[in-house]
Subunit: 363 residues, 2 copies
């Protein structure tokens, strides 16, 4: 990591360490150090002696924050849980359809969700940003503020950062968590025949719907506002992963879990394949989700079921549970059954194969 206190051009050019108070200034006018000092919310002061505590009561303690070669974080246990993901402008978000706050919040959520989906509590984040020299510093400040705020809500301070130049804006967030001794991680491979499939959100499909409005060039339509916002910054209850899906003593109730990144059918298929089972989605249980999106779908001449079944970037917890033990916050949307002779793991809808835009991954 590079450090906020020392001058180095963020743009690859030799730039003076000029103080800039204008939020519309571009980062090319600042040094990497100057930019990092403005976007890294945690400073090293007070961290070194361990005086600075994380926000969770028994959460991580930041021994060394940003400003040295690496951060030092005391985890609740030595069993580290770690995941990394990149959001790239033009691929994962469109700058003219989103804003800095949403980019930061989404980068936090998609990575925290990966920790939560192991049944683990997040402890900290580190973030590596690349940006063109003409990027407004205000945009990076917005990204950083929202990333930090969203991660702090789940007890995870941003403890380190890196800033470099690149052709487009890109954020790689690495989320760090821990598992208590004796608490098994909740894998994708534990679903058993007789379990139920449950989702930790009241409404599936909003993210896919929002993306459809963005791709139709109608993100500004008032009917799309909530959907576009959810696509750009989905906000599922991630604590369902580490608190909801476990007993108070840490024993996992969920037999398998992941977060919905690539669509319900595709992600349920991951559980089905890893566990060697068939997952049968319940049309009736998902009908309210589709119904809630019906008006938005009609306006685009689209199919709300497509969004519910295949829309990605929801990041809600998707888990399997023993049939009589679905925890609060989850709702049943399907059943797990054993493979028949010669049958492959797959996802069905009321017992029928699901087709999707001309290809079918699971039938």
């Amino acid at each position: 990591m590079t450090t906020p206190e020392t001058p180095r051009p963020a743009s690859g050019r030799t730039a003076p360490e000029a103080p800039t108070t204008d939020g519309s200034a571009s980062i090319g006018h600042l040094t990497e150090a100057g930019v990092l000092a403005r976007i890294l919310p945690v400073t090293a002061e007070g961290c070194v002696d361990g005086a600075r505590a994380g926000s969770a009561p028994e959460g991580p303690r930041v021994e060394v924050g940003p400003g040295d070669d690496a951060a030092v974080v005391r985890l609740a246990s030595p069993r580290l849980v770690v995941s990394t993901d990149t959001l790239t402008e033009g691929e994962d978000f469109l700058l003219d359809a989103t804003c800095g706050e949403w980019i930061g919040a989404k980068a936090a959520v998609q990575n925290l969700a990966d920790i939560a989906a192991m049944g683990a509590r997040p402890s900290a984040l580190v973030v590596a940003v690349t940006a063109p020299a003409q990027t407004p510093i205000a945009l990076l400040e917005d990204v950083s503020r929202a990333l930090s705020a969203r991660a702090a809500r789940d007890g995870a301070p941003v403890v380190g950062g890196d800033l470099g130049a690149g052709p487009v804006l890109s954020l790689t967030v690495t989320a760090l968590g821990s598992l208590p001794e004796g608490s098994a991680p909740v894998l994708r491979s534990g679903a058993r025949a007789g379990d139920v499939l449950a989702i930790g959100t009241e409404r599936l499909g909003r993210s896919g719907a929002g993306l459809a409005w963005i791709l139709a060039g109608r993100a500004a339509d008032t009917r799309a506002r909530e959907l576009v916002a959810w696509h750009n910054a989905p906000d599922p209850d991630l604590a369902l992963g580490w608190a909801g899906a476990r007993e108070e003593d840490g024993t996992a109730i969920a037999s398998a879990m992941l977060d919905v990144s690539d669509g319900l059918v595709r992600d349920a298929g991951r559980i089905a394949r890893a566990s060697g089972v068939v997952i049968d989605l319940d049309h009736g249980a998902l009908a309210p989700d589709a119904e809630a999106l019906a008006d938005a779908a009609r306006a685009l001449d689209a199919d709300a079921w497509e969004w519910v079944l295949h829309g990605g970037e929801e990041h809600a917890m998707l888990a399997t549970f023993p049939a009589d033990r679905v925890p609060m916050g989850f709702r049943r949307i399907g059943a797990v059954r054993a493979l028949s002779a010669g049958e492959s793991p797959r996802v069905l809808l009321d017992g029928a194969a699901i087709t999707h835009e001309g290809f079918d991954h699971f039938a």
Copy 2:
């Protein structure tokens, strides 16, 4: 993190899961899953039950490797050390002056060096790769193989990965390590008057020299071969950070430490400022480094001292020690003295200010 076992287009397009045996094929012809399966060296099999051990005798144990939402690694202690850094094509490396093996090795070294510079032993890496669809899969395989091999040498398995599309090749490596209970991290702020400054490499300046040959368009010159190779894949002894700079009982001998990322003068200046001292480099101690580069400098009409004093990307350990306790592997190249009245922390050479290409950060 996304997972090697499931299909998702790496290019943002819908791509068939076509098996490809031709190494010249581009990743646009594979799914993200297909690419990850080829570039992630650790598979999930055998990991979940903890049977798979890291390479260090008391090193990390990988409980869950790639293939689920997150990896689970048992550290030697709950005191996590973490650093993240991005290498971007066109900014941090030029594809026509390097190769996949060097990109991977350098990405490993620059991140492992940040862990080592805290006096900590690396435990694991995760890597997020973005690449254009036309990137040859063979290039990513070379990057991955070298990254894994270099990290494994220091006991750090690659436990997770992410692959996405982007306009240029970019790698973000997050390095993870741990500090035993009772072992203080070696910060930049601990240098004291009377200490000596020492460097953990026999020869400084090779990386800067190699870069000069590359920028001159003469990377293929036989006289430049070793220097270009060192620039593209520097290979300092990183164990000097966690083993050399500590007593066997874990007590730090080094009073301050970092790795040389941005040049000796700039990085020594970071120690000087963090510690509130003056660092005086010893011209005589560094003369052999400059002399070894004299021929290469003459051929480019360059100044070897420029490379020794200001060349970056060496990643060797730079530390301060009590004068009578410089460990094996380090050599003395300067002295630490107290600030005079009204003096600012800075770096001198034989007591004189150092000027560098028209600006002077430290005088």
